[in-house]
Amino acid sequence: MNKTTTTSVLTCRDLSVGYEEKVILSDISLSFEAGQFISLLGPNGAGKTTLLRTFSRHLDPISGQIEVMGRPLARLTAMEMAQFMAVVLTDKVSPPLFSVFEFAALGRYPHTDFLGRLQAADIEAVENALYAVHAEELAHRPFSDLSDGERQKVLVARALAQEPRLLLLDEPTIHLDLKHRVEVLGILRDLCRTRGITVVASLHDVDVAAKVSDRVALVKSGGLSDWGPPETVLTGPAVSDLYDFREAEFCNQLGGIELRGDGRRGRAFVVAGMGTGAQVYRMLAKRGFAISTGVLHENDLDYFVARSLGAECITRKPMEAVDAESVAAAARGLSDCRFIIDCGFEEGALNRENMTLIEAALQTGKPMLTLRKNGLSTHSTSGNGASLIRCASSAELLEAIDHEFTGETTGKPLSAQEGDAL
């Protein structure tokens, strides 16, 4: 990170930023390279915008150096700056009577003559910019008539018309619907890949940032808490710490955020495996149940979801068969559960012992809900057939849970948060 200056587009060392002696962030050292997508992540008010505004020279740094292409930022003329970097701000701009094309053409400012007349090359650059953001069909529309999503794309086009090497965006996806959120980020990523533009954006969605970024900078409490590739930086604890999550956890492997339940409706034991449990866990968490689960392999999707939801997991190493010992451990967890769910996983050599666990669970006499297709072969041993509820689908399972297990605790289900990540 230190001396790879050959391709470094922007480097800052020991930078402190803020307003008039009020330091907001300090000791920031970063280096952005050509064609990278860099996300600034952090809670509102952490200083992401302040940092971006310092890079764009809207604010003077309080101390430290910023270099672009090996030259001090402060030494660049306004025109050099404009040809080097472009910005997309959160300010609501809506100049009247501009067509989209004319609006994007404003970005040619640092390239045009004294009166700003467009030459053939300028027109081509504007057209390319509009194509790059898939806004060519908007070209003749009045800018003030655009939707938020279309407007954001055209704002990016205006910045691209400037032909910058560095593009700074403040909250480019805020206020956008899902379609445009995905589209705008896709456009930005393409700009990095195909044009070698360095994109620096402050983002809110950690899960999306993890998927599009080459580097992420975590901005929190007066400084940079971490900086590097999202694959290593964005761990569950790091994200929980960044946003002060208590009820949720970011899962690196799943690339999403899982919302935990408060567990006040009691504990459920889930026998799952091979992806059969993921939805059931989320459903239980959403409805306020605590979860115990087992026996899972540590590379199972179910394991990642269960762990992020804060479930008690009894696990085995990948490729190791579930053995009597782990089943016994899981069986001990059955006692403090209100009911048991069998997710109907396929039996195989490595998880056959989980069937023994189900047997043991039936023995406890606690209610069991099963999703197993051909039904659970009610072995003669379990005399209590009433406690076995067969469910054909997860919807039925849900209904059964709501119906059967309301009373005991305060009973009010949690507000139905959409816990499923993108």
Binding site: H58, V87, L89, L97, E102, Y109, E127, H140, S144
Partner: protein
């Protein structure tokens, strides 16, 4: 995308969408109105007589005086006044990105008014009645440019346009407060003249004043046109403008300086002519269907000149020989337009 497919670049279509057509048309209208303003008045002359007088002015003849000393300066003043006020309004609307801003929003007219109130309402000038028209001009000039200097000085310090706007408004209120006190203390006869001055008039322009206005104002107009590229960038706000390489500190001062200088120039002689500076930029935007200042600056000039000439003609002729206050007529035109624009939200700045 190396091949230039100019498929999506806009092409100007339609005869009335071409700015040149409108420039020509508006010039023609302005010229005709100016000719009418010279030709029509409370004393009627035939066209031939007027033509004769213009070609061969006879010293001492009443007709020569009316045409050369009253009507022609007034016609020219209306053209210049409309053009300058319109451009001043346009500049401030662009700078503040606000549609209800006019050239007097920063207190230019209030500054002029308060100084004029000293001259017209107090006994300071008793016995100097002969000097009154000239004194009024000097006082208005001092007031208008005094306020302008304060505003520009403030603009050099504060960063936010809104702060500046509020400072300007407050200056206006301060000046109005002083004016109100002066009015309360003044004699009745003096108040009527003062109230009429406040409504503006293009009468009483001297050739020397017109000459100064033409040279100074013309120079400012040319410089303003040369600024149309950064002005276009200002349409996106100062932050975007700065990111595109505009020296906003410099241009902010220039915009305010030019706008105030143009408005102050007219106000000094004609008094505060209402609504032209506020409404004409909107009309120009509608006519030219553009916010591009390269079109709007000349466009607002011509529209302002035409509208003001028309208003002056109406003011003089509607209840002739009684002359109606100019601001009353311009407001008749201006208010419905502003209301209409607010209803039709497409055109907002």
């Amino acid at each position: 995308m190396t091949t230039a497919v100019h498929a999506i670049a806009p092409t100007t279509t339609g005869f009335w969408r071409k700015p040149g057509v409108w420039f020509f048309f508006l010039s023609l209208v302005t010229l005709s109105l100016a000719v009418l303003n010279v030709g029509i008045g409370s004393v009627s002359f035939s066209a031939g007589e007027i033509w004769q007088t213009i070609l061969t002015p006879r010293e001492g003849a009443a007709m020569t005086d009316i045409i050369w000393a009253i009507r022609i300066p007034r016609a020219i003043a209306a053209v210049l006044g409309g053009a300058y006020l319109a451009v001043a309004g346009l500049l401030l609307q662009v700078y503040f990105r606000n549609p209800i801003v006019g050239p007097f929003i920063l207190g230019i007219s209030s500054g002029a008014t308060v100084m004029v109130s000293f001259v017209m309402l107090t006994t300071l000038t008793v016995g100097m009645t002969v000097l009154t028209p000239f004194m009024t001009t000097v006082a208005a000039f001092i007031g208008a440019y005094g306020v302008m200097m304060i505003v520009v000085a403030v603009a050099a310090r504060v960063k936010s346009g809104i702060t500046l706007l509020i400072v300007g408004l407050m200056m206006g209120y301060l000046c109005s407060a002083v004016t109100a006190v002066m009015t309360a203390l003044a004699e009745k006869e003096a108040i009527k003249g003062f109230v009429l001055w406040q409504l503006g008039s293009f009468s009483g322009f001297k050739w020397s004043e017109i000459f100064v206005m033409l040279v100074c104002g013309g120079a400012i107009l040319i410089m303003t046109y040369a600024m149309s590229k950064p002005l276009n960038a200002f349409l996106l706000g100062e932050e975007y403008a700065a990111s595109m390489g505009v020296n906003i500190r410099k241009f902010r001062i220039l915009i305010l300086l030019f706008a105030c200088a143009l408005a102050g120039m007219i106000t000094s002689v004609a008094g505060p002519v209402a609504f032209v500076g506020l409404a004409v930029p909107h009309m120009a935007r509608l006519i030219f269907h553009s916010s591009d200042n390269r079109i709007l600056i000349p466009g607002a000039c011509l529209t302002g000149a035409a509208i003001t000439s028309l208003c002056d003609l109406i003011a003089r002729m509607l209840l002739s020989p009684v002359e109606l206050p100019l601001s009353a007529i311009t407001a008749f035109f201006g208010a419905p337009i502003v209301i209409g624009l607010l209803m039709k939200r497409r055109v907002k700045l």
